[in-house]
Symmetry: C2
Subunit: 132 residues, 2 copies
């Protein structure tokens, strides 16, 4: 594992939700040994490929990354305001998927299930910012 990969991993460990490559880079800029944007991208690509991090694409076209806490396949429930994320084991969703698929004669290979909303904390101290 390269230095860049360790640094990126460290940045992701310190994060609550998903970080874009640029976010990661920003966090590393102030450290003792800054990491170039190029290396951040390269490290993220490798980590994603190895399954150590999840990748998500935002509606604005950025790729975002997050450390996988739970191994294996799972889904996310992300707070729009603070970025807090819950990983969901979605056995029941997957059951539904199989059902729906076979009803249409499809064999399902992959699926995306992502939920966004507001976490308990942000619901209480709701002030502004709240998105569409």
């Amino acid at each position: 594992m390269t230095r860049a990969q360790r640094a990126v991993l460290g940045a992701l460990e310190g994060a609550t939700g998903f970080l874009s490559a640029q976010d990661v880079h920003a966090r590393l800029r102030d450290g003792a040994r800054p990491t170039g944007l190029t290396s951040v991208y390269r490290a993220l690509a490798l980590l994603a490929e190895s399954g150590a991090v999840d990748t998500l694409r935002t509606t604005t076209g950025e790729s975002t990354y997050r450390l996988c806490r739970s191994a294996g396949h799972h889904h996310h429930l992300t707070c729009q305001r603070c970025g807090a994320t819950v990983e969901l084991e979605a056995r029941s969703v997957e059951r539904w998927i199989d059902q729906v698929a076979s009803a249409h004669g499809y064999r399902v290979e992959g699926h995306t299930v992502e939920l966004t909303g507001h976490c308990p904390r942000c619901q209480r101290r709701r002030t502004a910012t709240a998105a569409r």
Copy 2:
């Protein structure tokens, strides 16, 4: 409705699955009255906003668009090989979502559910191409 919007709608009507803005533009290039890429983007943005088309982001970062057959909120089951798409009413998924969310104390604002696989036809005459 502008000429560009009509042209874009026409292109989407002739498509089986999702088209990127560039795809739409390519299809219109050979017509009697080509439409500029700029206008394609503008038309797609307006159509998406008005709910006439769905938007999806590919893993490669392109936005893709497809005519909405059914009104209202729904999800997609897309064939990876031929692009055929089934629109799903996902009442049961949404029920699950509410359940999961309240279990974690979240209030859910939005969700993404997309399924990919192989349609009945492509399963039969399966040859190659099959992805990840």
